[in-house]
Symmetry: C2
Subunit: 490 residues, 2 copies
């Protein structure tokens, strides 16, 4: 377990005072730690602003968690793709959605800034060379199955979101055939960063920050098992991702992640959070995490109904699959059931680890096979179907057309088990930063010379229950840029 060794090594590293630095191995204006989408965007902006930039990456190449993603970026407020598809999205609706999606963790300043700037950010991405086909692909998809651009990727059309913000699809995906657009997205950003003259050092692991008084003036990185001392005249940008691969941090700060099983990330060990905290940074919302199980595959399963082990519904199932999954993980007993009728059931994909728990000619038979008391699941489905036939869901306000009666026998209950089904997850808590990506101390003051973005911060995807696909890459790319710009002018 590589991360255990790393965690101990890192945690012993405290900031080094500049007076104790024996020599400089690297000197630059801006030092960036981490080469996912965040680090790449920070590098591009810092270079554009005229700063010398060195980017340090602990792996042997770019990527990070960004390259494991679908390359989908949450963008709204009226993009060309939205307009072409007939959606009349506005800055106001988009911003309102972003705020709702942050729930109790809302950061108004970040939502308002990104709400205003997202369309320009989309143009910027295109200017860097990110290709977009520009079309809209309807349906309830996890990622496009072809190279389409625009998909529904959140809970926009679902309660309570639709009541506050007029729904529009906002998931903008790089032109790339099938899943896995994250890798080509990072490739484009890397090429751009390189073409602008970013100096890149790989196999370089950040160990500590270097301080001069209250100011961050560099970092210690380990290359070839040797500490190298990096002078950053203008600033250091932390772009190292979350802490999903640091079990000790998860235990202390995000213990509910132990309910689920499949961390997503690329060595995300929380080092950026630790480095920030070592100089007074303020980790917030550390209990928050994203999780999802691919229960909307095949797509007809999106019409299913979820119940917990008591046979009760707990969410309007037309929400984003990750919001539904996160609410599922709140349910007792370590599992939930997805109920389907024969008109909607198909065999789930093997990798999902979703199994058939019960079948029946009636919902009473399914209830009995699940060993639930009579009058629980069956009553839930009687109420659900009676209203679904009328096109309404008075309990959870699930909307047509996803709302459909499930009344064609035979019936089935699929089991989503938090331990054995594929519940992928990553952490959302991190350093508190300003909308300009300055790392803030516990009093809210910017720490001079230190900037951060992406999942080592608490950003746009601050609240697990409000996650929407593309929020994290929106955060990484947009606030990564802010970090690079802020550092270059520091």
């Amino acid at each position: 377990m590589e991360w255990k060794v790393e965690m101990i090594a890192y945690s012993q590293h405290k900031p080094l005072e500049m007076a104790a630095v024996p020599h400089w191995d690297f000197e630059t204006d801006v030092a960036i730690i981490g080469f996912g989408a965040t680090g790449a965007c920070a590098a591009i902006e810092a270079r554009e602003a005229g700063a010398d930039v060195i980017l340090f990456e602990r792996s042997s190449g770019s990527g990070g968690a960004s390259a494991l993603s679908g390359g989908e970026i949450y963008i709204g407020g009226g993009t060309d793709a939205q307009k072409a598809a007939g959606f009349d999205d506005t800055v106001e609706d988009f911003t309102a959605y972003l705020k709702l999606a942050q729930g109790p963790c809302v950061d108004d300043a970040k939502c308002e800034l990104y709400g205003r700037e997202a369309v320009r950010h989309y143009q910027w991405l295109k200017d860097q060379g990110v290709p977009y086909r520009g079309n809209y692909l309807p349906g309830k998809l996890i990622e496009p199955t072809d190279d389409s651009t625009l998909i529904w990727s959140g809970s926009e059309a679902a309660a309570p979101f639709y009541k506050t913000a007029k729904p529009a699809p906002r998931g903008h995906v790089i032109q790339h055939m099938g899943w896995g657009g994250g890798r080509p997205l990072v490739d484009v950003l890397e090429a751009r960063a390189r073409s602008l003259g970013t100096h890149i050092e790989v196999d370089a692991r950040a160990q500590a920050l270097i301080t001069e008084g209250d100011r961050i003036v560099g970092a210690v990185v380990r290359i070839d098992n040797t500490d190298k001392f990096v002078r950053a005249r203008k600033g250091v940008v932390l772009a190292t991702g979350g802490f999903v691969f640091n079990e000790a941090m998860r235990r202390k700060y995000c213990p509910d992640t132990f309910r689920v099983n499949s961390p997503i990330g690329d060595k995300d060990d929380g080092i950026g959070i630790e480095l920030g905290a070592s100089v007074g940074g303020d980790p917030i919302h550390m209990d928050q995490f994203f999780t999802t199980c691919p229960w909307t595959m095949p797509e007809t399963h999106a019409n299913g109904v979820f119940v917990n082990i008591q046979g009760q519904r707990f969410i309007n199932e037309d929400c984003y699959h990750g919001r539904v999954s996160r609410c599922a993980v709140d349910q007792p007993g370590g599992k939930v059931y997805l109920l389907l009728d024969v008109a909607h059931f198909q065999q789930p994909p093997d990798f999902a680890g979703i199994s058939i728990a019960a079948t029946g000619e009636t919902w009473d038979e399914v209830e009995a096979e699940l060993e639930m008391p009579a009058g629980t699941l069956s009553a839930t489905m009687a109420v659900y179907n009676a209203h679904a036939r009328e096109g309404r869901d008075p309990l959870f306000d699930k909307q047509v057309p996803i709302l459909k009666p499930l009344d064609q026998s035979p019936f089935v209950a699929l089991e989503l088990n938090f331990e054995t089904s594929y519940f992928s997850f990553f952490t959302l808590g991190g350093l508190k930063t300003s909308a300009q990506a300055e790392v803030l101390d516990r009093s809210g003051k910017a720490i001079p010379g230190l900037f951060a973005a992406g999942r080592c911060t608490s950003g746009l995807p601050a609240w697990g229950h409000g996650y929407s696909s593309g929020l994290s890459l929106a955060d990484c790319t947009f606030f990564g840029r802010e970090a690079g710009r802020s550092a270059a002018k520091a």
Copy 2:
């Protein structure tokens, strides 16, 4: 809003290096910050160990949140009161319960130490002069209505706890007529601390810690608007309580507390957490909070059934009132309903802010008056009553005798509204400390010279959903003692 001013003032205070101290206004072995039960117990032990002790309290006298409590301490493993009442509690069952009550936030070392030592701790409390009548008062009580000692104060007899740990009552209450035993408890501890020669400075507000290298060697306190410099040769003990009265800290670290309305505390502004973090301390489980609404008053209401706005049950209602209340606050829509029949309903006390939302001759009528869809609440109660008549609750495993059918009409639904009913709350997150009350840094290493206990730490009551009455005072008194002892020998 006094706390706002204070928060800003504190947050600007960073640790002071000893070299910058102009002079010492106070010199002692151990400086204790905060004079609730934690500080008093720390003072007693430090004095007993031969250390000079000065205790600084920002109010004009002792008390803190401890004095606002019921003076109830969670003690198990076989006390004389337990034995006299015929309960055969063991260290193993007690420890197992403590661990379950910490849920995902479990700290095994603290549970095991307190599990082993609690009976001796009870004797120690008596040795300090805390009076206990020694008798057992059965029933489901928030605090004893007379001067009895032993009450059920947790979820011991409820699922899932009873399955792992044999149930026993463990709430031990100071001999004091009626509610409010916290004040006399602190009075006894204060008298003892004074008699042992503790130097007490009131109206003294901690501002910053003083460091010499990695070691904490004192504190700055403000008295009469003047900074006073305190040399603590052996150590500083933080005993300042939680952050329930610091709205900015709650927003950043515990935003779910904004769902409820009535903070309990005595100027608990999180200063101890901020001071600890200022020198590398590690705040953990900052999202956790206790909340309760006095819904078990009158006691017959403990036989009620809770449903959410969907008409669904969400907890076995025989759990501790605070666990039920905490789960209630997880429910959507800002309110839950407590269902009662005429055999169990009485008018709730005015201070609870619990109102009658609906009545009916049948549960269907109650359901209709609440404007719930037909077949929701009524189905819930049909299933509940059918099984309750058989003495079982297959859905949530509520136990006899609290499990009773609610089938004597008329029926009533009481509304517990998170905003308008009395949901008191306080925070549970705080500094990570060892079982010896050393403040740990983010790598798990003790910060030399710094100790903490009580609600400025994450302690025995680490998890809001597992709270039991008396856990916080157990933590304050027991680990307050640990802090005093550890500091005295540092």
